[in-house]
């Protein structure tokens, strides 16, 4: 067998943001690299059924929503506004196609071998690990080997045992991106990022949306003040929140679905919700099934994650792991950073990921963008802090845009003024946050932002104003 095995310097299993970015970096560093991806297209969940298509749908649905609810205020009268969902979905697919093809092009340019199929580690031969890739049914598996393996197999939606996905009535985020008809009533189980984004899409397109959340707040783990602000804004748009509700199950009733839950704030009273489709978005789980970890003696932890050291190396020498299958937030950009750092460390370079400076965004409108520690976390740590909060309401550019919901909140160490965290709810919060992330990455202070010139009038000035108000020097409120 060995003679038919093609040997590489590095095999990456998984072609998502962790894997494909690592592959490009590896190729740049001169490693002969193969990347195994079971989807026909590269880009993983992010590009195919995650970040990108959801953003395409969020963008389209927001345009529709604007035309329906906001144009008239600007003096724009739209006649008979119609939704062409088919075109909207096609546009989304076009965007995905362009981007996944773009990665294929990048692979070609960098001389990276893309092996299509499910990769499984089957043997260790001397320093080399052998990976067998099962392609289309009926074709012989391909065997490739390398002394270095990077696992970047990502994650998949986790299922509730009492509400199994059927792809039609009980769906995951994947199907929620391609509903061919706007449901009358969409029930979202889980008020995290995916539930809120997909809930927003279908709410804007006309569905009634009910979000059932186990905890007493949406986007649990986020800064409470920011989370509350987002809840308020989304409720105003018509999303219905059932917090502290425990889902018990869902059953069909004719064409409809009945979701049963307990209201934990009301003596565990039974409540039922009748809807057309149930989106279960309670989280994602690492995807390591049938990967052949046992061949390498790698065991996963309780959460199904692969333990790694601070060099991203697993318990098996020469095998690294990054992204959703290791500890930390399941975010495309976190996986990318880790993939690059892992490859640089393999090559003897000083790769590093700063986990204090990883942004996290919910792409609703207004958006919620956060980085670093929440106010609750800082308070609990005992570190004394100063707070700078600046509302968009007080700001000229936001007024001209008629986007006055939300605020910028910066938390800084009282002694050193170092920025510990930032939380933005507001228009394009995702883009506004970037500046603060950079400053955090450099160990900077709120004053560093406050003393940096910001173009006027831009939304970014709200960040400067919040930074100024950390030291009580805001000029606008």
């Amino acid at each position: 067998m060995a003679d038919t095995t093609v040997n590489y310097d590095l095999i990456i299993i998984g072609g998502g943001p962790g894997g494909y970015v690592a592959a490009i970096r590896a190729a740049q560093l001169g490693l002969k690299t193969a990347c195994i991806e079971k989807r026909k297209t590269l880009g993983g969940t992010c590009l195919n059924v995650g970040c990108i298509p959801s953003k395409a749908m969020l963008e389209s649905s927001e345009h529709y929503h604007q035309a329906k609810t906001k144009f008239s205020k600007h003096g724009i009268v739209v006649g008979d506004l119609k939704l062409d969902l088919e075109t909207m979905l096609k546009r989304k697919e076009g965007v995905v196609r362009q981007l996944t093809n773009g990665i294929a092009g990048l692979f070609k340019k960098h001389g990276i071998t893309h092996v299509n199929g499910h990769g499984k580690i089957v043997a260790v031969e001397g320093p080399n690990k052998v990976v067998e890739v099962a392609g289309e049914p009926g074709t012989a598996p391909v065997r490739i080997s390398a002394p270095k393996i990077l696992l970047a197999t990502g994650s998949e939606p986790s299922e509730l045992p009492f509400m199994k996905f059927d792809g039609k009535k009980i769906i995951s985020s994947t199907e929620a991106l391609e509903l061919t008809k706007v449901p009358e009533h969409l029930i979202v189980v889980g008020g995290g990022v995916i539930g809120l984004e997909m809930g927003s899409v279908w709410s804007r397109l006309g569905a009634k949306v009910t979000v059932i959340e186990f905890q007493d707040r949406i986007v649990p783990g986020t800064d409470r003040q920011a989370g509350n602000e987002l809840t308020k804004a989304l409720a105003k748009q018509g999303l219905e929140f059932k917090l502290s509700h425990k889902c018990l199950g869902a059953r069909p009733s004719g064409d409809k679905m009945i979701v049963e839950a307990e209201d934990m704030m009301n003596g565990n009273a039974k409540v039922t919700f009748e809807g057309d489709v149930v989106l279960v978005s309670t989280g994602r789980k690492p995807y390591t099934a049938n990967l052949g970890l046992e061949v390498l003696g790698i065991t996963t932890d309780k959460g199904g994650r692969i333990p790694i050291n601070d060099h991203f190396e697993t318990s098996s020498k020469g095998v690294w792991a990054v992204g959703d299958i290791v500890d930390g937030p399941m975010l495309a950009h976190k996986a990318e950073e880790e993939g690059v750092a892992a490859v640089e460390l393999m090559a003897g370079l000083p790769g590093h990921v700063n986990y204090e400076a990883i942004p996290n965004v919910v792409y609703t409108w207004p958006e919620l963008a956060t980085v670093g520690y929440t106010e609750e976390e800082v308070k609990a740590s005992g570190v004394e802090y100063n707070l700078g909060v600046f509302p968009f309401m007080a700001f000229g550019r936001a007024k001209t845009m008629d986007e006055t919901e939300g605020f910028v909140k910066i938390i800084a160490d009282k002694k050193t003024d170092k920025i510990l965290g930032a939380h933005i709810v507001g228009p394009r919060a995702s883009d506004l946050l970037t500046e603060i992330v950079s400053v955090i990455e450099f160990g900077g202070s709120s004053e560093d932002i406050a003393r940096t010139c910001h173009a006027h009038p831009t939304l970014s000035e709200t960040v400067k104003e919040a930074a100024l108000s950390v030291e009580k020097r805001s000029r606008s409120i």
């Binding site: 100063n386 800084a412 160490d413 009282k414 002694k415 050193t416 003024d417 170092k418 990455e441 450099f442 160990g443 900077g444 202070s445 709120s446 004053e447 560093d448 406050a450 003393r451 940096t452 006027h456 009038p457 950390v470 030291e471 009580k472 020097r473």
Partner: protein, 437 residues
């Protein structure tokens, strides 16, 4: 054409100088090589001569403190050099932006509704201006270090790749208010805090005279306090019977003077004997650098010289390789330069050990303070006839108390005592020093 006269760099650690006096008047015609002004740093005075000819336009006055690199005057050769002294100074206009390439032919754009001031192209200053001090530091670090008088270059940064953060600057300033308190009503551009601890606010009573310290004086004050705060200074004493040295000196001083034209003083003997002792106890010729000790295998001996503006310590380089004649010549030369305020930076920096002679003023006993980063300083004192016991009999001998102040962090008591005993041995047996006329 206008040429700038700038405050020149006078040494690595010097960021500010003051103008001692102008040798020329505003509007006066200047030739190349003319003495324009004297500036004083905390270590030396420097004369600045004209590098171009033209008419002098003075921008900074005597007594002004100015950062290194600042323009103090302009020499303009486009103005007739006969112009009288009534020439008005030029307006202090900011330097014009360079024209944008291709901007010449473009008609002036109509004023746009933007916040940018009209007519100024929004281009950054020319790249040449990258010599701006503190280039590469973050805005808050630039502000905090200027306001608190901390040199960021002396801090080890905790930011990315060792960058200095605002917190690092605040941490280096123990009295600095916390970030939150800084702004509570206080103007954010306060003048730099004085580096000296302030005495309790003294109110001037009738009969008090308040005189600002010269830069030299304030630098001396700052360095002495710094030395006291950083090193573990201890002083050990001994005494030297100077009979042998005095005998040798009185026998040879006339011949020495006749042959070499310089006086034979005790300084050369003490310098020679100190070097012998430094060779015996090398840590006295060493310094602390962070977690390391740096031993110097050369002997650059500082000799404290009193001047009417304060004490300066010019350095005799490679003193171990010098003869008695060389030493006396060099010491005399440096003393005159010190008296006249002509010592250069090179004369004043980098000593490895210092000798201070309080005896010239009559001191019988003193504890000198270290000259950082050096670890040892010898105090010489007045030679006085005193009765001492010699071989069981009381004799009158010319005696001098000697004091070695040392940094106990790297020098043990044993080393310090041994050092003084070695010095004593060489001075009481000066033939070991290899004296010759």
């Amino acid at each position: 054409m206008k040429k700038n006269v700038v405050a020149p760099s006078v040494g690595e650690s010097i960021t500010e100088v003051s103008i001692l006096k102008w040798a020329k008047q505003n509007g006066q015609a200047i030739k190349v090589g003319d003495l324009l002004l004297e500036i004083e740093s905390d270590k030396a005075t420097v004369e600045i001569v004209a590098e171009s000819a033209g008419t002098l336009q003075i921008l900074k006055q005597a007594g002004d403190r100015i950062p290194i690199g600042e323009v103090v005057a302009i020499i303009d050769d486009s103005i007739a050099s006969s112009a009288g002294p009534s020439m008005p100074p030029p307006p202090l206009a900011p330097p014009a932006f360079p024209p944008l390439p291709g901007a010449k032919a473009a008609p002036p754009a109509p004023p746009a509704f933007s916040s940018a001031p009209p007519s100024l192209p929004p281009s950054p200053p020319p790249m040449a201006a990258a010599s701006t001090p503190n280039h590469g530091l973050s805005p808050s670090v630039r502000r905090a270090s200027a306001e608190l008088g901390v040199n960021p270059a002396t801090l080890s940064g905790t930011g990315k790749d060792g960058r200095v953060t605002k917190g690092d600057v605040l941490a280096a300033t123990p009295s600095a208010p916390s970030a939150g308190a800084t702004s509570a009503g206080a103007p954010s551009y306060a003048p730099p805090a004085p580096t000296l601890p302030k005495p309790p606010a003294a109110t001037d009573k009738p009969g008090d005279r308040r005189v600002p310290m010269s830069m030299l004086r304030s630098k001396i004050a700052e360095r002495l306090v710094m030395a006291q705060h950083t090193a573990a200074i201890l002083t050990t004493f001994n005494e030297v019977d100077m009979s042998a040295v005095m005998k040798l000196r009185s026998e040879h001083k006339d011949a020495f003077k006749a042959k070499h034209g310089v006086n034979l003083s005790f300084m050369s003997f003490f310098t020679k004997a100190s070097i012998a002792a430094l060779k015996a106890v090398p840590e006295v010729n060493a310094m602390i650098d962070g977690k390391d000790t740096i031993y110097h295998d050369y002997y650059d001996i500082g000799v404290a010289v009193g001047t009417d503006r304060g004490l300066v310590v010019p350095v005799i380089r490679n003193a171990d390789q010098m003869s008695f004649v060389d030493l006396e010549r060099k010491i005399g030369e440096l003393a005159i330069k010190g008296r006249d305020g002509k010592l250069s930076m090179a004369d004043l920096t980098g000593g490895t050990f210092t000798i201070s002679n309080g005896g010239t003023y009559g001191s019988l006993m003193s504890t000198p303070i270290l000259n950082p980063p050096q670890s040892g300083i010898l105090g010489m004192h007045k030679i006085m006839d005193r009765p001492i016991a010699v071989n069981g009999k009381v004799e009158i001998r010319p005696m001098m108390y000697t004091a070695l102040s040392y940094d106990h962090r790297i020098i043990d008591g044993k080393g310090a005592v041994t050092w003084l005993v070695t010095l004593k041995d060489f001075l009481e047996n000066p033939e070991k020093l290899g004296f010759s006329v």
